[in-house]
C-alpha cells in the first residue's frame, strides 16, 4: 500500500516539477534586470509601456464583446437544441468541436479571402469592420469551451419542466430565457466567459494576421527585442489566465442548488 503511494507521489511531483520549474526559472529571470540584485524593474518597465496598456485594454474589450456575442448566440442555441431538437445534439457537438481541429491560421485566411476589402462584405476595409471580424473569429475559437460550459450548466437544471412552469404562468420565450434559464446557468456562463477571456488575451495568430493592436502580438513583439520584459510579461499573462481559471472555481460555489431538503 505504502509503495503504491510512494510511486503516486513521485509521478505527481515529477509532473508538478515539469510545470513549476520553468515557471520559477522564468520568474527568477524576470527579477534580474538590475545587475547583482533582484528587482521588479522588468515589471515596472512593462507597466510603464503605453503599448502594454493600449494592447491589453484592446484585447480586454474585444474579449468582453466576444463573451457577450458568444452568450447571445450560444445560450439560446443550446436551450432550443436541448428543449426542442435533442436529435440535433450530436451534430451541434461536432460543429462546436471544429475550431479545435481547424488551425486558427486556416480560419483567418478563410476570413481574409471572404471578407477582404474587395469582397461583398468588406469587413477588413475598416478598423471597426476588422474588429467585428476579430470578435467573430474569437467567438468561433471559444465555441468549444463556451458551448460545453453552457451545455453542462443546462444539464444541471430541468429546463423542460422549468420552461413549462414559466410558460403556464404567462411567460414568453424571451422572458423564460432571460428570467429563468440565464440566472440558473449564470455560473456556467461565467466559467465559459473566463475561459473565453483567457483565450482572447493570449491569442496571437488571428490578431496578428488581421493586423489589430492586440495583446498577443504585443507579447510576441516584445519577446523579439527585449531580454527581461518578455519574462515579466509571461508571468503577468500567466497570472491573468490562472486568475480567470481560479474565478471559475470560486464561482462554482455560488451555483444555484436544486435539490430539496430531505428532513
Amino acid at each position: 500500500m505504502k509503495t503504491n503511494r510512494f510511486w503516486s507521489w513521485l509521478v505527481f511531483l515529477l509532473g508538478a516539477a515539469y510545470f513549476i520549474v520553468p515557471l520559477i526559472a522564468t520568474f527568477e529571470f524576470s527579477l534580474r534586470m538590475r545587475r547583482g540584485e533582484y528587482s521588479f524593474d522588468a515589471y515596472a518597465s512593462v507597466f510603464a509601456d503605453p503599448r502594454f496598456h493600449a494592447t491589453f485594454g484592446y484585447s480586454a474589450l474585444i474579449g468582453l464583446f466576444t463573451i457577450v456575442v458568444g452568450v447571445l448566440v450560444i445560450v439560446p442555441a443550446v436551450y432550443f437544441v436541448r428543449l426542442r431538437m435533442p436529435w440535433l445534439r450530436p451534430f451541434v457537438e461536432f460543429v462546436t468541436l471544429l475550431p479545435l481541429v481547424i488551425p486558427a491560421l486556416v480560419l483567418v485566411y478563410g476570413y481574409i479571402r471572404l471578407y477582404n476589402s474587395s469582397s461583398i462584405i468588406p469587413f477588413t476595409g475598416s478598423a471597426l469592420g476588422t474588429d467585428i471580424l476579430l470578435t467573430g473569429a474569437y467567438v468561433t475559437l471559444a465555441l468549444p469551451y463556451m458551448y460545453r460550459a453552457v451545455d453542462t450548466g443546462m444539464r444541471t437544471i430541468d429546463i423542460g419542466t422549468l420552461t413549462e412552469a414559466a410558460q403556464i404562468m404567462g411567460a414568453n420565450q424571451v422572458q423564460i430565457i432571460w428570467q429563468i434559464i440565464l440566472p440558473n446557468i449564470l455560473v456556467a456562463i461565467l466559467s465559459g466567459a473566463f475561459l473565453t477571456f483567457a483565450i482572447v488575451i493570449g491569442e496571437f495568430t488571428i490578431a496578428s494576421l488581421l493586423n489589430r493592436p492586440a495583446f498577443g502580438p504585443y507579447l510576441v513583439g516584445i519577446g523579439t527585442n527585449r531580454a527581461y520584459e518578455p519574462a515579466a510579461l509571461a508571468i503577468i499573462s500567466f497570472i491573468i489566465t490562472w486568475g480567470a481559471m481560479g474565478m471559475i472555481n470560486v464561482l462554482g460555489r455560488f451555483a444555484p442548488r436544486t435539490s430539496a431538503r430531505t428532513d
Binding site: I168, A260, T262
Partner: protein, 352 residues
C-alpha cells in the same frame, strides 16, 4: 348551463402510436376531477394537451366556452403544479409565488400583498425569503401550489403532485389541496395513478385505460358499480372466483361445491360452463353476518396483519378468497390452517 371544461373527441398520436383515442368529457365549474389510470394510459397526455404543452392530433378543448385547443400555454390562463415541484431555483419563495403576477404586470405593492395572502393560505407565512433548496419536498410543493393559484387562473392542473412525497405528507397535502380547492372554488384536474388519492379527494373520477375512458363517475359509483372488469380490478381489491353455471334460468352456480344464486348471468350463459364471478374483500365476513345469504366453509391459507385490519386468504378448494376483518384486540387473530366459515350476500357477486 354550458360545461366549464369541455373536451371533445380528443386524440393524440405520436407517429403511428395513438395514446389518447377520441376522449370526450365535460365538467362544471368548481369540480375536482381526477384522471386515474396506470402508466401509459394517456392521462398525463390529456392534462398536457389541456395545458398546451402537447399539440392536439384531433378534437377540441373548451374552457368557459372558449376554444383553447390551439392557444399557446401562456395564453390559456391556467395554473399547473408539477410532480417535480419545478420551483425556480434562482428565485426565493416570494419571487416564485409572485412570478406569474410579475409577468402579468401587477404592481410590486399589490404583488407583495398577494404573495403574503398565498403564504398564509398554504400555511407558510414568513417563508418568502427562503430559497427552494432550503425547504422540504412537502413545503416546496405547497409553494408550487401557491405559485400556480396566485395569478387567479381559470383552472388548476395537478400533474401527480404528490408522487414524489413520502406517505404521511402525501395524505396531509392531498387534504390540504382539497381544502384550498373547495375554499377557492377553482375547477381542478388532477392526474394520478393512485386510486386512493383519486377516490378520496375528487368530485368525479375518470378511469382511463389504453387511451380510452373506461368509466366516469363519482368515487362511490366507480368503486361500487365498476363498469368494466378493468375498473373493478384497478380500483380497489377484487376477488375473482371461478364458478360453474348450473341453471341459467334460476341463476344458480356452483362455487367449489357450494350452490349459490347470483343476481344476474350473461344472456348467453349455458349450463355446465365455467364463469368468473367478482367480489370485493370487504363484503365477505368471517362467520354468519346479518344480510349475508351465502355461507361457505374453507381453510385459512394466509393471514396478513395490517394494523387496524387483518386480511385473510381463505381457500375454498380451487378458489381462494381474500377478505378483510377488523382487528379486534379482545380476540386472538386467526391462524393459518384453521377451518373457517365465511358469509357473503349473493347480490354482491358480480359478473363483469
Amino acid at each position: 348551463m354550458a360545461a366549464f371544461l369541455e373536451v371533445q373527441n380528443l386524440t393524440k398520436s405520436f407517429g403511428s402510436n395513438t395514446v389518447v383515442k377520441g376522449v370526450s368529457f365535460a365538467f362544471d365549474k368548481g369540480e375536482f376531477i381526477s384522471l386515474l389510470g396506470p402508466s401509459g394510459c394517456g392521462k398525463t397526455t390529456i392534462l398536457r394537451m389541456i395545458a398546451g404543452f402537447e399539440s392536439v392530433t384531433a378534437g377540441t378543448i373548451q374552457v368557459e366556452g372558449q376554444d383553447i385547443t390551439h392557444l399557446k400555454p401562456n395564453q390559456r390562463q391556467l395554473g399547473m403544479v408539477f410532480q417535480a415541484y419545478a420551483l425556480f431555483p434562482n428565485l426565493n419563495v416570494g419571487d416564485n409565488i409572485g412570478f406569474g403576477l410579475k409577468i402579468a404586470g401587477m404592481p410590486a405593492e399589490q404583488r407583495r400583498a398577494r404573495v403574503d395572502e398565498m403564504l398564509r393560505l398554504i400555511g407558510l407565512p414568513g417563508y418568502e425569503k427562503r430559497y427552494p433548496y432550503e425547504m422540504s419536498g412537502g413545503q416546496q410543493q405547497r409553494v408550487a401550489l401557491a405559485r400556480a393559484i396566485a395569478p387567479r387562473p381559470r383552472m388548476l392542473l395537478l400533474d401527480e403532485p404528490l408522487s414524489a412525497l413520502d406517505a404521511k405528507i402525501r395524505v396531509s397535502l392531498r387534504e390540504e389541496i382539497r381544502a384550498i380547492q373547495l375554499d377557492l372554488g377553482i375547477t381542478t384536474v388532477f392526474v394520478t395513478h393512485d386510486q386512493e388519492e383519486a377516490l378520496s379527494i375528487s368530485d368525479r373520477v375518470v378511469v382511463m385505460h389504453a387511451g380510452n375512458i373506461e368509466q366516469l363517475g363519482a368515487p362511490h359509483e366507480i368503486y361500487n358499480k365498476p363498469a368494466t372488469r378493468f375498473v373493478a380490478t384497478f380500483v380497489g381489491q377484487l376477488n375473482s372466483i371461478e364458478a360453474t353455471i348450473l341453471d341459467p334460468a334460476a341463476r344458480t352456480v356452483s362455487i367449489d361445491g357450494h350452490i349459490v344464486t347470483v343476481p344476474h348471468l350473461p344472456a348467453d350463459a349455458a349450463a355446465n360452463v365455467l364463469t368468473q364471478l367478482t367480489l370485493r374483500p370487504e363484503v365477505v365476513a368471517v362467520g354468519a353476518s346479518e344480510g349475508n345469504d351465502v355461507t361457505l366453509t374453507g381453510t385459512i391459507a394466509d393471514v396478513t396483519f395490517l394494523g387496524s385490519v387483518i386480511r385473510l386468504r381463505v381457500s375454498l378448494g380451487k378458489n381462494v378468497i381474500s377478505l378483510d376483518t377488523f382487528n379486534d384486540q379482545r380476540t386472538v387473530p386467526p391462524v393459518r390452517g384453521e377451518p373457517v366459515t365465511i358469509s357473503l350476500a349473493s347480490k354482491n357477486l358480480l359478473i363483469l
